[in-house]
Symmetry: C2
C-alpha cells in the first residue's frame, strides 16, 4: 500500500475560464481508480474558432482509461461545468452524481443525446456522501450564481481533499443556501491535504458583494421607468431572475420571460423546489394586450449572442414584440471579455430605436458569482490546507492565486491543464504531463483543434481563395486554357483587368513554358500553378491567397 498515491489532473479549466474537467485518482501509479469532477464546454469565437459550435475538452486520456473511471461528479449546472457531459457520456459511461437542480439540467441534456436518464443520480448535500471506488465524495452547498452549487469534500485513503467548484462568499444569496463558515471550518478540522480552489476573480481586489444588495437599486430603476422595461442576465442566475421579476411586480408590471434557456432554467428551479414565490409570468401574446408601462420582459442574450432574445429585439422584433422610444433595457450582467463587440452592437441598435440602455457601469445592477481576492484568502484561512492548487482560470489567474497562497503562508501548486500532481507526496510534485487540448464540435463532427480544418477556414477568411482547374489530355498536354475562380478577393487588380483574367493568362503562360517532366507530375504541376497564382495575386491586389488546384487527366 506504500506506493499508492492521490493524483490530480486537470483536463480543462486550468488554463482558461470555461471547459472545466478535473480528474482525481487513487492507487498505484498507472493503476489509479479515477473520478471526474465536471465536464464543461467553452465558447468559440471568430478569432480562433470560426464556425465552430462548441469547444469541448480533449479527454482522450480519460477515454483510454474509462475502465478505471468510477464516477462523474457535477458541481453545478453552468455550461462550463456540465455542457460537455452528454457529448462525452457515451465514451465514458460512468455514473453521474449531482444535486437535484444540477441533475435536472444534466438529465435534460442526456435526454437530448439519447442517453439514459438513470445515468444521473440525484444526491443529497453533505453530510451525505457517495462512495466511488476508493473515494467518498460529499456535496457541500456553496454560494455562486446558480442554484445548488457545491464544493466537494473528497475523502481518500491518504486524506481529505476540498474542491471548491465555482464559488463566492455570500451570506444572503436570495435563492439557495447562504455561505456557512461553520460548515467549512468543521469539515476542515480533521485536516485537509489540498484545496483545489476557483481562481477566476483573483485579480479583483475588493471583497465581493452579496446578491441581495441589488434588489433596492433594481427596484428603484424599474419604478422610475416609463415605457416597457426589459432586463437581461444569465438565464441560469435564478436569484437574479427572481430579483428582477419581483422588482417588476412591485412596480405593477407583469413579467414575461423570453428565450428558451430562461424558461427552461426557471422550470428546472421550480420543479426541484429551489425556486418558490416567483411572480406569475405572462406569455408574449399577453404582452401585446397590456400597456407598455405594465410590462417587464426578462430576456436571454446578455452576452450579445446573435440568436438570443436581446439581439433579436435589437434587430426589430421577437415573438411579435417590438421595443420603441421610451423603453428601457437593462444589462444586469457583466460583458465577458471578447463579447464587447456583440454587446456594443445591440446597445447601438437600441440607441437608434430610442431605447434607453442601462449598463452596469458602477456595479449597481450586477454582482459577480466568483470569490474575489479577499474572499479567496478567507477560504484559504477556513480550510488551512497543506497546499492550495489553483484551478479554473487562465494561466495568469492560476499564477496570481499561487502568489496569494504564498502571502497567506500556504504552499501553492501551479498545475495547468495536463499537469498530473501527486497530492499525497510529502512535497507536492508533478509526476506526469498528459496531452490535453480542445475538441471542436463543428456541425455534427468532433474535430481536433489542431487538425488543421479550422486553421484552413481562418486562412480562407484572411487570404481569400483561388481555385484553379486544368485539364490534360491523353498526351499530358493542356486541353484548353486553365480556368480560375476566386472567392473573397477583389475582382479588379492593379493592371485594371479582372483578376481572374490576369491569373488565367499567367497560368497559361506557365503551362506553355512547362516541360513534360512537370506536366506528367501532379505534385510538380500543382506546386508550379500555386506559386504563379500567389505571385500574380500578390502583384495585382497585394494578397497571397489560399490556392486549390484541380488537375483532371483525360487519360485516367
Amino acid at each position: 500500500m506504500s506506493n499508492e498515491r492521490v493524483i490530480y489532473l486537470p483536463l480543462g479549466g486550468a488554463g482558461e475560464i470555461g471547459m472545466n474537467a478535473y480528474v482525481y485518482g487513487y492507487g498505484k501509479p498507472g493503476k489509479e481508480r479515477l473520478i471526474l469532477i465536471d465536464l464543461g464546454v467553452t465558447f468559440p469565437d471568430m478569432d480562433g474558432s470560426p464556425g465552430v459550435d462548441l469547444i469541448l475538452p480533449d479527454i482522450a486520456w480519460l477515454k483510454e482509461r474509462r475502465n478505471q473511471l468510477e464516477a462523474i461528479f457535477i458541481t453545478h449546472a453552468h455550461e462550463d461545468h456540465v455542457g460537455a457531459l452528454a457529448h462525452f457520456w457515451g465514451d465514458l459511461g460512468a455514473p453521474v452524481y449531482a444535486r437535484a437542480f444540477t441533475a435536472n439540467i444534466a438529465r435534460r441534456k442526456m435526454d437530448e443525446h439519447g442517453h439514459p436518464d438513470k445515468a444521473v443520480t440525484t444526491v443529497l448535500p453533505w453530510p451525505e456522501t457517495v462512495d466511488a471506488g476508493p473515494f467518498s465524495v460529499g456535496f457541500v452547498p456553496i454560494s455562486h450564481s446558480i442554484p445548488e452549487s457545491s464544493g466537494l469534500v473528497i475523502d481518500t485513503p491518504k486524506g481529505r481533499l476540498v474542491h471548491t467548484g465555482d464559488f463566492k462568499i455570500d451570506h444572503t444569496p436570495v435563492v439557495g443556501e447562504p455561505f456557512d463558515e461553520a460548515v467549512w471550518q468543521d469539515l476542515a478540522s480533521p485536516g485537509v491535504l489540498a484545496l483545489m480552489c476557483d481562481s477566476t476573480n483573483v485579480f479583483s481586489p475588493v471583497q465581493g458583494r452579496s446578491e441581495n444588495t441589488l434588489a433596492p437599486e433594481i427596484e428603484k430603476l424599474v419604478a422610475g421607468s416609463k415605457g416597457m422595461f426589459v432586463a437581461t442576465t444569465f438565464a441560469s442566475n435564478v436569484a437574479r431572475l427572481k430579483t428582477l421579476a419581483e422588482a417588476g411586480q412591485a412596480a405593477g408590471r407583469s413579467v414575461c420571460l423570453l428565450g428558451r434557456a430562461m424558461r427552461r432554467m426557471v422550470e428546472a428551479a421550480v420543479e426541484t423546489g429551489v425556486l418558490t414565490g416567483f411572480p406569475r409570468t405572462i406569455s408574449p401574446e399577453d404582452v401585446k394586450s397590456l400597456p407598455r408601462e405594465n410590462v417587464m420582459l426578462i430576456v436571454t442574450g446578455s452576452q450579445g449572442e446573435r440568436r438570443a432574445a436581446s439581439a433579436q429585439l435589437s434587430n426589430g422584433k421577437y415573438q411579435g414584440i417590438t421595443l420603441k422610444e421610451g423603453d428601457t433595457f437593462l444589462f444586469s450582467s457583466k460583458t465577458i471579455p471578447g463579447n464587447e463587440r456583440g454587446v456594443g452592437r445591440i446597445m447601438n441598435n437600441f440607441s437608434e430605436m430610442g431605447v434607453d440602455v442601462v449598463e452596469d457601469y458602477d456595479g449597481l445592477y450586477h454582482v459577480s458569482g466568483h470569490a474575489n481576492r479577499p474572499d479567496l484568502s478567507a477560504m484559504h484561512k477556513l480550510i488551512q490546507p497543506q497546499m492550495v492548487v489553483p484551478m479554473h482560470g487562465e494561466h495568469r489567474h492560476l499564477r496570481e492565486h499561487i502568489k496569494l497562497s504564498k502571502s497567506n503562508r500556504l504552499k501553492g501548486v501551479l498545475a495547468p491543464n495536463g499537469t498530473m500532481v501527486d497530492l499525497s507526496a510529502n512535497t507536492p510534485s508533478v509526476v506526469d504531463y498528459v496531452d490535453t487540448g480542445r475538441t471542436y464540435l463543428d456541425g455534427s463532427s468532433k474535430i481536433g483543434a489542431m487538425d488543421g480544418i479550422v486553421r484552413d477556414r481562418i486562412r480562407m477568411a484572411l487570404n481569400g481563395h483561388v481555385m484553379i482547374n486544368i485539364i490534360l489530355d491523353e498526351n499530358d498536354d493542356p486541353l484548353g486554357e486553365p480556368w480560375c475562380e476566386i472567392r473573397g478577393l477583389a475582382e479588379m487588380g492593379n493592371s485594371r483587368a479582372p483578376l481572374v483574367d490576369v491569373l488565367e493568362e499567367d497560368l497559361s503562360q506557365f503551362l506553355g513554358r512547362a516541360g513534360n517532366k512537370t506536366l506528367v507530375d501532379d505534385d510538380k504541376l500543382e506546386d508550379g500553378l500555386r506559386k504563379i497564382a500567389r505571385q500574380s495575386t500578390q502583384t495585382e491586389i497585394g494578397k497571397k491567397p489560399e490556392v486549390t488546384v484541380v488537375i483532371s487527366r483525360l487519360s485516367t
Copy 2:
C-alpha cells in the same frame, strides 16, 4: 445671400470610435464651398473584416465634389484622425493644414504614398488663422493624449463654430499645452453657433484625471522592481513615454525604445521641439550588455497587436531580447473593447514565462485622453453654444451626449454619419442624408464593405468550402466522375466514409439522373450540383458549406 447656409456632414466618426471625417460647408444649397476636418482610419477585426488591412471612411460624396473642397484640416496625429489622409489625398488634392507635430507625421505618410510634402502646411496656433474659401479656421491648443492636439475655431459668414476634436481637460499634461479655460471662454464670447464635441467618454461619470498624476505611481512601481522592467503604451502618447522613461532613469535604468512606431513618434516630437529632456535611449544591442535591473524597455503593442514588440516578446524573442522570471511587464494603457483576447494571450504567455504582468486595474498607471461626462459639461458651459452636435462616438455615445446637453439646457442635434445638418437654420435641421459607409484597404485594393468580398471570406470561415469540378464532352455528357475538393471541413462524416467520396458519389448519381435540359444549362447544372453538395454535407457532418462549381465543356 439669404439662402446661403452652413452645413455639417460627418462621413465617419459619428457612429463609431475611430475613422473621423467631418465636412463643413458654406454657400447656396448644393453649391457650398467645403472643408474637411480629419481623415482617419479604424481597425479591422476577425469578426467583421477578416484579412482587411485598414478601414477607411467611404468618401465618395466628397470625391464627387472635390472641386468644392477648399482645404483639409487635421486636428491631431492619431491614426483615427490622420490615418486615411495619404490613402485619399490623390482623390481630393486639397491643401492640408496642421500644427507642426501633426504636420510632421502627416508628411511622413504623404511621403510613403509618393504625395508631395508641400501639400501639408504647418500652421501656428490660435489666434493665427487660415483662410479657406468662406471659412477662417484657427487651431486652438487643447489637451489630449498626443502632442499639439487642437480644437478648431471655424468662422463662417453666419457665425462661429467650435469643433473640439478629441480632448480632455488637463491642466498639467506633462508634454504640451495645458487646457486653458480663459482662451476658450474668450473665443466663445462673441457667441458660438454650434459646438461639435467629442463624445467617447460620455459614459464615464467622474471627472478625468491629469496625465501628471501617474508619475509618482509609475516611479514607485519601477523602483520596486527587480529584473528587467518593460512598459507598453500607445506609441503616440509622448507624455506617457516621457513619464515612463523618467521613472526608469530615476531608478538607475537605461531606456530602450522597441517598435518602429514608438521610435518614429519620439523622433517627430523631438524634431518639432514638442519633446525636450527625454532621457538618452540605448539600442537593443546595448541592452544585452547591461544587467537586467539596469534596463527599462518601452515597447509597442499595448492592444495585443500580433506583430508589435509586446506580442513578439511574449512569444519568445524580439531584437535579441528575451524576458524571463523576475521581469515585470506594465500595461500603461487601457484595453480597447474587442482587443481583450489578444491582450489576454500576451498576459498568459508572460505568465508562463514567469514575468509579472501589471495591468491597470485601478487607474494607477493610465489615464484616458478623453473628456469624461463632467468635463464635457464643463466644455458646454465654457462655450455656451446655440447647439451641441455630439461627434466621435458610437450611436449610443452620441445619443447620451444629447441627453447630457439637454440636462445642461442646451439644444442637442443627433447627427450620425451621413446626416447633413443646416447649422445656420433657426432650428437646427437635417437637410439631407448622404450614403456613407466603409472602404476596406485589402492588400493593395480598396474595396467596399458591402461589395460581398469580405462577406464571402466570412462565409468560408464559418461554413467551409466545397469545390466541385465536372467535365462534359462534346455531347454534353459527363466525362468521368465529378471531382470534389474540400477545405475547412471535417474529412470523415456520419457514414464513416471520407466526405469527398460521399459527395462524389451523390453528385455522380445526380448527374446520372439529370436530363439533357439540365446538362446543357450551366446555371441549372450548377444549382443542382450545389444543392446536392450542401444537402450531403449537412447529412454527413452537419454543416452547410460554401460551394464553388466549375463546369468545363470540351465542346467550347
